[in-house]
Symmetry: C2
Subunit: 366 residues, 2 copies
């Protein structure tokens, strides 16, 4: 009799124990799935090595930009050489969507109509986040830190910093005379820039960089870093140390040899249509630093101060042709000698297919 009582209590204890364990695990499961549901837009991407990455508007992200021909491709290639970061080619579609969005946001009229139509700014933001995430996440191999380089996205830094709270921004600065000479000599058509005129391009350059710098300043130094193209090519090590520290990723020697990572899995993927491809296949070098000197019409040189007021504001002496950009590191001099010896040729798979497609590539990007 006493025995069966003991057995009874034991059985009761078992049942009770099972009940408690079940309840606990059920709670875990519920909370997990509620977590998943409450999550805003998120994108899942499977890497070639089958690892899965999930990205949301809270994921860390880098936006690299600036006026075209200011070293944005070099910067993103050096970041692409870091195992934890993936940038990839220009998407071209992101600036256009941001253009639409800014239109709906800015213009009081249109904004009022949309509110009347029941399309709130929150809804538009959710839709924009969803679109941008899909593009950026699926644009290449997934990586712990995603990066996007479409030069003009930095016109929207304030908005992007708002919808992606953990994003950071790298604004490339360069002597406008060099950027403009590059546009004109390489016939890189950019929306709004008349590449037959140094005067017009330098004016537009000044306006564009002023707008981007304004946004960068408002986003603040913790989230927007300005990098000079000149420092990047003269002192790549110190510059990239600064960049990676800003991004909060560990140092990786590979970023100083991006040319070795081209076409490598998880390395640097290049586009046949982008105009910088034949340059970034080479190691960091000084080839392009002062190539502009001697190409700018005299009347434009005389009037430089007024045509491009941002030159002096950025510390580029508008009267000096060229100004002193600083001292190069030894390895850069060494790289430049190799480049001048013509040691780096464009691989066939990166050659721009036909003259026709060259005309395509040079369609407006702005």
């Amino acid at each position: 009799m006493r025995l069966s009582i003991r057995r009874g209590t034991m059985l009761l204890l078992c049942v009770f124990g099972l009940y408690i364990a079940g309840k606990a695990l059920y709670k875990v499961f519920m909370c997990q799935s509620r977590l998943a549901r409450s999550r805003k837009v998120s994108v899942l991407v499977k890497g070639s090595n089958q690892t899965r990455f999930r990205y949301s508007h809270l994921s860390p992200m880098v936006f690299v930009g600036g006026v075209p021909r200011s070293g944005t491709t070099l910067m993103r290639a050096m970041l692409d050489a870091h195992p934890l970061i993936r940038c990839g080619e220009e998407t071209r579609v992101i600036p256009r969507l941001l253009g639409l969005r800014q239109g709906w946001k800015r213009h009081g009229e249109e904004r009022q109509i949309l509110e009347d139509e029941g399309v709130t700014q929150e809804t538009l933001d959710a839709a924009t986040i969803a679109f941008l995430l899909e593009i950026i996440a699926r644009h290449g191999e997934p990586a712990p830190m995603l990066c996007n380089k479409d030069p003009f996205t930095l016109k929207s830094s304030i908005y992007l910093s708002d919808i992606f709270p953990n994003s950071k921004f790298i604004l490339m600065l360069r002597d406008g005379r060099a950027s403009v000479h590059s546009m004109i000599s390489r016939r890189v058509t950019i929306g709004g820039f008349d590449i037959s005129s140094y005067r017009d391009c330098l004016t537009k350059w000044s306006h564009a960089i002023e707008a981007m710098l304004f946004q960068c300043t408002l986003v603040g130094p913790n989230r927007c870093l300005t990098i000079r193209y000149e420092s990047l090519v003269l002192q790549p090590r110190t510059t990239m140390v600064k960049v990676l520290r800003f991004l909060g990723v560990p140092w990786h020697e590979g970023v100083l040899h991006h040319e070795l990572a081209i076409g490598q899995p998880g390395g640097v993927s290049l586009s046949r249509t982008e105009r910088s491809t034949d340059q970034v296949i080479k190691p960091v070098n000084l080839e392009a630093l002062t190539r502009w000197v001697g190409h700018i019409p005299a009347d434009v040189l005389e009037d430089m101060e007024n045509i491009a007021p941002m030159l002096s504001r950025l510390g580029y002496d508008p009267g000096a042709n060229p100004p002193d950009y600083g001292q190069p590191d030894p390895e850069v001099i060494n790289n430049t000698e190799k480049v001048l010896r013509g040691e780096f040729k464009l691989p066939a798979n990166l050659k721009r297919p036909s003259h026709e497609s060259m005309s395509k590539a040079s369609r407006p990007r702005g």
Copy 2:
């Protein structure tokens, strides 16, 4: 001694039982979350009654469209009056995103560049789906069947039917002379239409409806249904029976009295800026059916066959002013008398605020 052995076995059983229970529940949790992960873009919306709806590209969806001033608002209002369907006001942003997407899809040049940049058509579709889902799902109260009405979206029926495999399309047809008279007399500016000229508007109407009808035909009769505005107002019951059967939703008497659902929870939400609002607050009536007669210049009337070839293709006799649109149901005659007695006034909250905002509302939609 025998007792303690029994106790021991009991304890072992308990531990074993707990282990099994734990493992089972863990499996349930894992499979659930894997399910969630494998899901493509999806949007979760919470209704005012706290019910949660999750939408994906596989959700059933209705797109209502046609040339503006063809009864698209009346149709969506009648569908809004159905408890299982929510359309809501025009979003205005969806046609613009579709415009961008079509550009990237159609033009071989741009398409080739995007492929070179590593932005595949699949990526662009995923991004477009994500954007459209966010807008459509968050545009109003969630419902089992979502609906969108932006007249010109039906220019993209083929593409939409492809990215939303369970979507259906309702293309509104109307005597172009009536649509055009409505645009011109109510000064509804539409992208590309010169509302100072009957000839121009009738030409554009003919082109637009031809393009939409072409897309509708390719999508096929199981997924795209054409509805005449004239049938909708003359025989609302038989027409809506046909529509709801096509959509696969049960009949609901409320769709014949959309005016009673205006402003009701889960009912019809109207916009202050849309030009049809002052009309759809009234029950289905014949007011607008033949209002165009006597307003079209003689030279345009004579040349009607050539200006708007789609008239005869759609069965609207271009020589008859007006043609015989058919016999009205008794309740419609009754409604029309009430309307003519002026029994339906625009509520203050739906009045268009100021002349200024009227100019806003009449900005191009195409």
